[in-house]
Each structure stands twice: as C-alpha cells, then as structure tokens.
C-alpha cells in the first residue's frame, strides 16, 4: 500500500482536518462532533436544510459538497462504511433552519437503514424531515429492480438540484419532489481498470490483473457486468453509452447534463478521450448537451476507471443545476 497518509486509522479524520484547513470559509465541524461537516456560514433561517452522508473514500463525495447552493451538512463514515447513527442525527439537527430537512443519500443498505432510523427520530420531535435515495447505477441491477441499484456519481447533480431548490426557498415537499425528479432523470455506469486499497485493510479491494477491466463496477469495487481484456476508449464509451441509453433512452431534442467522472486514478486526459466519443454518440442521438462536466466528482481513492452520468433536464432541473453555488468542489468544474 503506497499512499500519502500517516496512520491508516487516522485517514478519515486527518483528511477532514485538511479539508477545513484548506477551505475554512466553507467547511467546519458541528460542535461536539468529529465526523459531521457543516457549512461555516449557515443557511438563512426558514430554508430547508439538505443533508447527506456516506462512507469516506469517495471525495469530493460526500462532504466536499457541503457549501452554499448544495449541502448544509454531511455525516462522514469510515472508508467505504456508512456514517454512524449519532453523526447522522447530529447532521440532520445541524441542518434544520426551521423549515425541515431533506436527506439525499446513496442506495446502500447501511446508509439507508441508518438515515431512515434517524430521520424517523427527528420526525418524532415534530421536525419535518424527509429522505430521497439515489440509485443511478444502471449496471447494478436490472431495470425491473431499480430499488436494488446503487447510487454513484449521479448523487452529485441530485445534491446540486436539491441544494439549489432549498436555497431558492422551496418548501420541504417541493425540495423532495424536485430531488426525486432529478433522481428519476439520472443514470450512470462505470468501468474500473485498477483496484483501490482501504487504508485499514491494506490490500486491494479486489483482484484485477494488469490486462483486465471490469465494466459496471461500483464505487466500492462491487462486481460489475463483465470482466475482460482492456478495450480502446471508443469501444468502452460506446458500450457505456449503449448500456445507459438502453435503460434510459434519450430522445431527439432532449436537453441533458453529462458528467464524465474519474474514479480516482484515471487522469483527466483519459476522461476527455472517453468524452470525445461520448459526445459523438450524443450528437448522433440528437440531444442537446446543456452542460458537460469532466473531472473527479465521485471517486474511490486510487481506483482507476471512469463513469458517465446523464441527467435529462427540463426547465426546472436546468435552472436548479445552473443556480449559483459557493461549494468549492462543485465549482472546480468549469
């Protein structure tokens, strides 16, 4: 394991301290917590709070997206492990500015159960609270079992939509409605070329020989749809495009946002090479790309690979996606 770290046991906490040191005007910890990242400057009273949480090892997902126009708070778990219930409760309460809170999480069992429980406790205190679950990864389950699909890079534009809706003063039911619309419009797929290493485990999460790749792998190294020899980028792009659009067809004149994401180790040049072919396929399909973003949105430490995400836009989603945000990691993409 060759990482730039100190003690593996301190990986998460030291990264959070570094985050706050680098961006002190954006990120701080909720008082009395070590794993609840909150905005340094809280949102105005009377607006819905937007909360997320998940395992570390995917930065900027999840805590990186705390900031004006996106998340209010985020509960942070160990690497590839869901956040503790006590931290989720603190994140929910810290986000409440008197208009209720909406949790936006990925479809992972531990996260879902923990957030459901904690949202339930908050509701018992008569604080309005809701939850939406992102399940954009088309490779993780068939189209008739979307409730089993994982949340991957599509989490990011959904958080953006929810955050913008809340900033705009929408009510909790409305923020939830538009977040669910965003989820329904968002589909992704990934391909991995090299494994990552969880610091406390010290060895690769899966075995993938030098010449092999895995199509459809999840952001924790979950098994994909096939494993085989590396193919040229254009062939990978075609397959990823076909798999996503077979599941969620694009219609001529659709407006979409496209996210081409590095899983961590894959450099931006390779993402651009992948996107080159994706953009040709999009053009051939007659859709209008309202915005493309290429970079590190939702990673898996040093896993090599990429994912693509398409979000179909209507006027409302487009406006919310374009709304200003002061979140450094959303604004990292031009």
């Amino acid at each position: 394991m060759k990482k730039i770290i100190n003690d593996p046991a301190d990986y998460v906490d030291e990264a959070l301290v570094g985050l706050m040191a680098a961006y002190p005007d954006t990120y701080t910890l909720a008082p009395g917590t070590a794993r609840v990242v909150v905005r340094t400057h809280a949102k105005d009273r009377g607006k819905v709070g937007v909360v997320s949480g998940g395992g570390s090892g995917h930065f900027p997902l999840f805590a990186g997206y705390v900031g004006t126009g996106m998340l209010d708070t985020c509960a942070v778990g160990d690497v590839f492990a869901g956040p503790a219930g006590a931290d989720v409760q603190a994140a929910l309460r810290s986000a409440d500015q008197g208009a209720g809170v909406l949790a936006v999480i990925g479809n992972y069992g531990g996260d879902r159960m923990t957030f459901e429980m904690q949202v339930g406790y908050l509701q018992e205190t008569e604080t309005p609270a809701g939850m939406v679950v992102v399940n954009d990864d088309v490779a993780s389950a068939p189209s008739d079992q979307t409730e089993n699909r994982r949340g991957v890079a599509g989490l990011v534009p959904v958080m953006k939509v929810a955050g913008a809706a809340a900033e705009d003063g929408m009510s909790l039911p409305e923020v939830k409605r538009v977040a669910e619309k965003a989820i329904d419009a968002t589909h992704s797929i990934g391909v991995a070329t090299r494994a990552c290493v969880i610091p406390m485990v010290g060895k690769p999460t899966f075995e993938l020989d030098d010449s092999s790749i895995e199509m459809g792998m999840g952001i924790h190294g979950e098994q994909g749809v096939w494993r085989g020899p590396l193919r040229p980028a254009d062939a990978l792009a075609d397959e990823m495009f076909d798999r996503v659009t077979e599941d969620a067809p694009l219609r001529k004149h659709d407006d979409i946002a496209v996210f081409c994401n590095s899983l961590g180790a894959t450099p931006i040049e390779e993402l651009l090479i992948l996107y080159r072919r994706i953009s040709v396929r999009l053009s051939q399909s007659g859709v209008t790309v309202h915005r493309a973003r290429v970079g590190h949105l939702a990673t898996s430490m040093e896993m090599a690979g990429a994912s693509i995400t398409f979000m179909r836009l209507d006027g409302e989603l487009q406006s919310l996606l374009d709304a200003p945000s002061a979140c450094p990691f959303w604004n990292a993409f031009p």
């Binding site: 531990g110 159960m113 485990v201 190294g221």
Partner: protein, 208 residues
C-alpha cells in the same frame, strides 16, 4: 422460572464483545471474500466502545438495551450494525419498564427483533443474512419446553444454519452483488451471530 436482568445482559454482552474482538481477523477474512474486508475491525471497534459502558447500564431492561444500541450508533453505520441497532431499539421499546425478563420470553423478543430487521433491511428468509441465523435460533428455542435448553438449542441451530447456507448465493446487499462468488462463502453476519451464541454458551445466563 429463570430470569434475565440487566446484570445478565451486561455479562452476556461482555462475553460477546470479547469473542468478537478475539475473532477480528476471521471476520475480516470472511468479509474480504464478498465485501471490503473490514467487518471484523468494525465489530471490534464497536465492542471496544461498548465494554467500558457495561457497568453503567440501567436496571430497566429496555433502557439498558437502548443504551447498548446508542453506543453502537456512535461507532458504526455499517449494514450489520444498523440491523443490530434496529433490533435492540425495537426490543427496547417493548421491554422498557421491566427490570427482568423471563427466559421463556426470548422467543417473543426474537420475533420483535426479526420483524424489525426484516422490515428495515428488506430481507426475506433465505437471503443468507444474519436474520436467517436468528430465524433458525427462534425456531429451535420455540421447540424447547425447557428454557435451560435454549442455549444448546441455539448453538445447534446456528451451526446448522451456517452449514445449510454456506453453498447458497447471497440474495441481498453487497454479498448479492458478489453473485456466484458468495456461494461457498459463509455470511460474515451469520458467523458473527454464531460466535455470539458460542460466547453465551459459557455465560452464567440467568438469575434464579
């Protein structure tokens, strides 16, 4: 009639925590077959957090169980720990106000735990999870007229369940995604349960 109070719960929990910490590497290795390989470390960390708090448990059985659940909730959000919290919280709600439970009530207690875990985890019997292990134990103790035979019955039941499910594929969670690889691997949650039952086999388990 044999009874369980919070002193017995603390003693049993202490045994389980020691057992889990002793088998951290085994549980990590099992988890590495179909997951991240960190379940042992997670449970050991939870056990280390619980153990010092066992001297502070309330005499109220329900409150005592909620206290244990709350400690777990400070340490982990893993699926298995979430299920444990859900089970303990559900049982706590139905036992708050009692300072003793009859051992003969364990069947009903397990029913509450199973129901809560299945609803939250969306698992069904046969999915190859810790719930399948608890179901086997529940069925076994339901057939025992003598409460003193509950622990041996539970031991047999969990060992049989582990053997029965070993070659089946997992149908839920991260293990489901491992697909055929999960067949031939023991479910780490079921093994954690087996280790817990083994620990209880040596516990002074009731007050007279």
């Amino acid at each position: 009639m044999k009874e369980i109070d919070s002193t017995a719960i603390a003693a049993a929990t202490r045994r389980i925590c020691e057992q889990v910490q002793k088998h951290e590497s085994l549980l990590n290795a099992l988890d590495a077959e179909i997951g991240d390989g960190d379940l042992g470390g997670t449970l050991a960390s939870v056990a280390a957090a619980i153990t010092p708090r066992l001297d502070e448990l309330s005499d109220d059985v329900g409150v005592c169980l909620k206290q244990i659940a709350d400690v777990i909730a400070t340490r982990s959000g893993s699926s298995l720990c979430a299920l444990m919290i859900i089970a303990l919280t559900a049982v706590s709600r139905s036992t708050t106000g009692k300072t003793k439970l009859c051992v003969s009530e364990l069947g009903a207690v397990l029913d509450i735990a199973i129901d809560a875990m299945q609803r939250a985890g969306r698992s069904k019997p046969g999915d190859k999870t810790i719930v399948d292990g608890i179901l086997a134990i529940r069925e076994a103790i339901g057939k025992e007229a003598d409460c003193r035979r509950y622990v041996p019955a539970a031991t047999r039941a969990i060992n049989e369940a582990v053997a029965k499910f070993r070659d089946r594929p997992s149908r839920i969670g991260r293990a489901r995604i491992a697909g055929k690889r999960s067949a031939g691997c023991d479910d780490p949650g079921m093994i954690a349960l087996k280790l817990s039952v083994d620990a209880l086999a040596g516990t002074p388990r009731e007050t007279s």
